[in-house]
Amino acid sequence: MVFEVLEYDFMQRALLSGTTIAVLCSVVGMFLVLRRYSLFGDAIAHSSFGGVALGLFMGIYPLWMAYVVSIISAVLITRIREKFDVSGDAAIAVMLSSGIAVALVIIGLAGGFSIDIFSFLFGSILLVSAHDTILVLAMTGSILLVILALFRQILYSTFDEKQAKVSGIHVERINYLVVFMAGLTVVTAIQLVGVLLISALFVIPNVTAMMLGRGFQSTIIISIVISISSVIAGIMLSYSLNIAPAGSIVLLSICMLGASMAAKSTGLFARR
């Protein structure tokens, strides 16, 4: 049955886009989780939903507008935290509710849209076009190349900002770069799991991996493996059981987290 399913073009695109997004979310999500920005993805995703609605309202390709809005939101959250002494979770909460509010107002003003705007809420990986797949591949490749080029600076700033500054790293610039990349990643990943479940892709595989891995490199590899496994298995499961892929992907990754917690509590994965 597996090989039969793989013959379908839509399934090939779904698996290719899904696994690519899985890798991207694991890598970017690792830096967010370690910077205590776990809900950052959620806030950006909700804001970008406002961007999707705005794009549809203005007759612009919705994901392009979502990219613009998500980047503006990501930078705004960071600016609000820095300039107005507002805590990170409060800034995230403001941005999270603003995006949905903007979307609801625009949907109301437009009197509804001809396309299913709610596919952006819950994801539609099985419906991704060849154009979307190319966009996902290009965006993932670009972001991963930047991370690879600035790996030490990003990791050092994440580990200890003060020491990173002393070593000559422009920490503020790196922080803005990380949130900029997170904004791009969120919109790229919306097609896979939708706005509502996006933070699961950022957080769950990384939290699981942090329990199993020791160093940064091993942990990120474990996170990528967990993420790809849950995406592939989730898509296959959704096809065979006719259920929403976003739900099955996230539930599978939660199962892996539960299994890791159980294994760790029994000492199965105890670090030497």
Partner: protein, 255 residues
Amino acid sequence: MPRPIEVSNLSVGYAGVPALENVSFAVDQGEFLGIIGPNGAGKSTLFACMLGLNTQYTGTVRIFGQDIHRSRSPLRKIGYVPQMVHFERNFPITVREVIRLGMWHGVQEERVDEVMRELWIHELADRRIGELSGGQQQRVFIAKAIVNDPQLLILDEPVTGIDQPSMNLFYGILKDLNSNHGITIAWSSHDLDTINMMSSHVVCLNRTLHFHGAAKAFFSDEKLVQIMCKCTDPSECTDHKCDVAEPPPIRNEAS
């Protein structure tokens, strides 16, 4: 050759309250400078200015001849060990990976291994940093600070919260870095006895500079030490671990 540190007329204030006023001193190559002063004396502020972390000051701070306010390039010659490194305890990073962070010009594994052996942490190479004791962690952060062969090592109360055996090992390492590797060291501590044992020169701060000169000159002056130490009788004070008290009037032997 430019001096590792030259501080001229340095003044810093926080919300109108002066933290440092008109501080001037210089450190020569190969010196082991101990910086002492009571809590709130401005020691950490001074380090922050020297490291380019605080640029809201008047006066000049030159590191190897370059104004740190204008150029960040001297930072490449500095190794820095703070009092406490604030990081997530469950941060997934090994000792080896932490030390690699210190190599800004590309990772050389042989150098990382060499530094770990020098600091007796090679057996901890694959352990997570958060799993180590305070003393072991501090040795890792020294390794990160020196892996790049810095010419100046700055340590801000580096032994706070560290057990005695680790402390002794730590002091031995610093002495070796200074004597055998020629690294200029500037460090702060509340422990006058250790400052006496380790440092060639002393800076005594309490918002203003109260003493700068040879450690011998400072510690041979019983009155000076007595005023610096809260104990009424310095002869009864065996370790000088009591908090440093209000410093005496200014005395700059080096200038």
